[in-house]
Amino acid sequence: MNIQAETTPERGGNPEAFSAAVPADRLQAVAAGRDVPAEVHPEVREVTPVLEIDRFNLWYGGKQALHGITMPIPHNKVTALIGPSGCGKSTLLRSVNRLNDLVQSVRITGDMRLNGDSIYDPRMDVIELRKRMGMVFQKPNPFPMSIYENVVYALRIDGENNRAVLDEVCELSLRGAALWDEVKDRLHESAIGLSGGQQQRLCIARAIAAEPEVLLLDEPCSALDPIATGKVEELIQELRGRYSVLIVTHNMQQASRTSDYTAFMYLGRLIEYGSTSGIFTKPILRETEAYVTGRFG
């Protein structure tokens, strides 16, 4: 992992070229490697950000996966990242809690700030940082232990062993994840025995147990059946207002149903970012409109 202090180097950026390309065919310009400025709706500029992504670039080896992403993630709102496969949504999400550190060849420039604290500051303790966030993955990944231990895992590794505290957090989190009524009688049974949808809600309970400042959801419903998906979406609705949620999704309906803000990404670039109603009903770019209405991608 190599963090460069300098901000975005201009790679293949040619102002003349893209001014000619905008708005004629912005996506082709992006595909050709030209820099295209993101269209950011005015309402986004007024939000209170919990997380600020600032000119963030990321390379896997020699291949650049993220190009100068700059976007604020609003406090206590649900923000959806949409875009076709391979556009860097998940990479961006995994950059927020620095899970990409685990990949040997990753190199980044730029920064992100969580409530003002620089995430990529060399002095930042990455373990402490991750304790301030919760993350839910594409495939439910309950740990090989009991339901109870799954939920309080973050507290356990933090050294919390007070039974009363753990019990309270467990119940609150499971209630928060709308799972309490289904599992309250078998808290000490293995989490492996739960259904896929229950497992995913358990993962959400686990993620909110430590009161995260931001909750990262990486396509949380893509491995679930429609009924389980419905339950998880309902849950995301309920989390709105209490947690700052950043959710990656492939599902347009899901984005429009659950989120307050939506960002459209393409080939590692942020294309358009605005309120969900704005993006879905009156997008600035016709490319965005084409994508959200399902005409491409």
Partner: protein
């Protein structure tokens, strides 16, 4: 596509292609290979099980009367076709191998008889097998039961009744005398030795004697005084024991069973030297089962006698199980830690790959090499060092090493080394089978690397690690070659755990079933008689390994149910 109309249906080829497509021949080939393998394995196991289980079954005694007037009594153990041994009969005739026993009278344990030379063969009712402590079996007919000059009973029936009455009593006295000799007298011997070594130790502690100085340190004085006291006490107790065993022996003296062999030689067998006697020809089925059970319980629970070719194998069972378990306990942490580093911490690269290849190669090193290493490093270097530090007195006084020679601990360590590659490879595989999503989930919760490994990765990998341990145990329990160098002995009756302080004696030499197979089968002076015993020991060893494995598999399946999910 656009040009649908141009497509004609593709012509299907002959049924030959469908044969290869369905792959019927391959199904048969693969299925046949599996069936062959299973047949060979089950055949071998069934053979061992049958031969091993039938060893102790009482076989009828046959009285063979030869045409030339010779008579022999014994169990028919084999029949085959062979060139006739006598010149009179030409061509191939059938012959039988008879276990005639009575070695000291006839000079044979077994004899071949040509069927043509046999005038008559019968199964007399009173033919008796006498299993003796020493000298092997004796076959004959009971004549009289004697007690000194007194004749207690005459005639087979009377004698047998009297024998069944008196024999258990005599044997009980004999066992008591043996217990006193082995345990109580052994205890006294050890106390004497301890006191003697304490004197030597005190001298060593006092340092090298200064020339011309006759001063003796206080410690030496005390130790010498203590030794005198122990000698006196042991002398008193020894005399007491002598009196007790003398009484027992005297009561047993004179009791004897007079037996007549088939060719008329009479012999008196002392009653206390008879382990068991029976008349297989007149035993009912229940009686046969009684003898069978009694022989099995002796086999499983007693010490060996007659150069291991008779009696029990209890010390060897003990040694095998103890060594295997200690080995598993030693190899598990080593192997798991090494694999953890290789898989979780070491950054992949040329060095890691080289280390991995080296570990795989270690699994191919001949086991005798491990034995030689164990002897050189564990026994001589480590054990010798321990002796120098803690057991110098024994070295100086008796020139007898304590840890500096083969023993249970060193043998277990050597085998742990031998099976280490198996555990490392299996653990690595188990670790790599843990989904990365679990690790990421844990990291995302703010767990560190070690927390993730300890709480998530290891529990999830445990069933796979257990598989490695099972393989290691199966391999370790069957090894013989390295054990011969690092502590297995032909005879070692003192178990490494007993009631004497400090209760655990890992430095002691021990017996092992696999070595016993080699020893009984190939080093025995009477290999024919030992052959059934070899089958039984093999049967037992296979059973023990199977039981150990079943136990481990049971633990593994429990872990699997707990930790490994079947997602969706």
């Amino acid at each position: 596509m656009s040009s649908d109309t141009k497509h004609r249906p593709r012509r299907m080829r002959s049924s030959y292609s469908s044969l290869t497509a369905h792959g019927e021949p391959w199904v048969w080939l693969t299925g046949g290979a599996l069936a062959l393998a299973i047949m060979m394995i089950t055949g071998l196991l069934a053979f061992i099980a049958f031969r091993g289980a039938s060893t102790f079954w009482p076989v009828p005694l046959e009285l063979v009367e030869l045409a030339d007037g010779g008579r022999a009594l014994g169990e028919v153990s084999e029949r085959d076709q062979a060139e006739a041994a006598t010149a009179k009969t030409a061509g191939r005739g059938s012959r039988r191998l008879v276990r005639t026993a009575n070695f000291e009278v006839s000079g044979h344990h077994y004899q071949w008889f040509d069927d043509t030379a046999i005038a008559r063969a019968s199964r007399p009712e009173w033919a008796t097998v006498v299993e003796r402590l020493e000298g092997g079996r004796f076959h004959g007919f009971p004549l009289r039961l004697l007690h000194g000059d007194e004749v207690v009973a005459v005639g087979p029936e009377e004698t047998w009744k009297a024998f069944e009455r008196e024999h258990p009593v005599v044997r009980r006295r004999w066992r008591e005398a043996m217990r006193i000799d082995r345990h109580e007298r052994g205890l006294l011997q050890r106390q004497l030795r301890a006191a003697r070594l304490a004197v030597v130790q005190a001298r060593l502690d006092a340092g090298p004697a200064v020339a011309g100085s006759v001063a003796v340190s206080a410690g030496q004085k005390a130790a010498t005084a203590a030794e005198q006291e122990v000698i006196a006490r042991v002398g008193r107790q020894s005399a007491e024991l002598d009196a007790r065993t003398g009484r027992l022996r005297q009561e047993n003296e004179g009791w004897g069973l007079e037996v007549e062999t088939a060719d008329g030689i009479k012999k008196v067998i002392p009653l206390e030297g008879i382990v068991r006697a029976c008349q297989p020809n007149r035993l009912s089925l229940a009686g046969k089962f009684g003898v069978y059970g009694s022989r099995w319980s002796e086999f499983l629970g007693d010490d060996p006698r007659e150069a291991n070719s008779a009696g029990g194998v209890f010390p060897a069972i003990w040694g095998t199980v103890a060594m295997t378990l200690i080995m598993a306990l030693l190899v598990a942490p080593f192997g798991v830690l090494a694999a953890l580093y290789l898989r979780e911490y070491a950054s992949p690269g040329a060095v890691t790959t080289a280390v991995r290849i080296a570990i795989n190669n270690l699994a191919g090193v001949p086991s005798i090499v491990y034995g030689a290493f164990g002897l050189g490093f564990f026994c001589y270097a480590l054990g010798g060092g321990i002796d120098e530090l803690f057991f110098r007195a024994s070295l100086v006084a008796d020139n007898q090493p304590t840890f500096g020679t083969g023993g249970l601990l060193w043998a277990s360590l050597t085998l742990a080394l031998l099976t280490l590659p198996v555990v490392i490879v299996a653990t690595e595989e188990a670790l790599s089978a843990v989904p990365n999503s679990m690790r990421e989930g844990s990291y995302a919760c703010g767990a560190g690397k070690w927390q993730t490994i300890r709480r998530i990765v290891l529990p999830r990998a445990l069933p796979g690690i257990m598989t490695g341990l099972i393989l290691a145990m199966a391999r370790g329990a069957g090894e013989v070659a390295p054990l011969m160098l690092v502590g297995v002995k032909k005879l070692a009756l003192d178990l490494p755990i007993d009631g004497r302080f400090p209760f655990v004696h890992p430095e002691r030499e021990f017996m092992h079933l696999a070595y016993l197979i080699y020893d009984v089968g190939f080093q025995s002076p009477n290999s024919q008689a030992a052959k059934p015993m070899v089958f039984t020991i093999t049967f037992l060893l296979v059973t023990i390994i199977a039981l150990l494995n079943v136990a481990a598999i049971w633990i593994r399946s429990r872990l699997k149910r707990r930790y490994v999910s079947q997602q969706f």
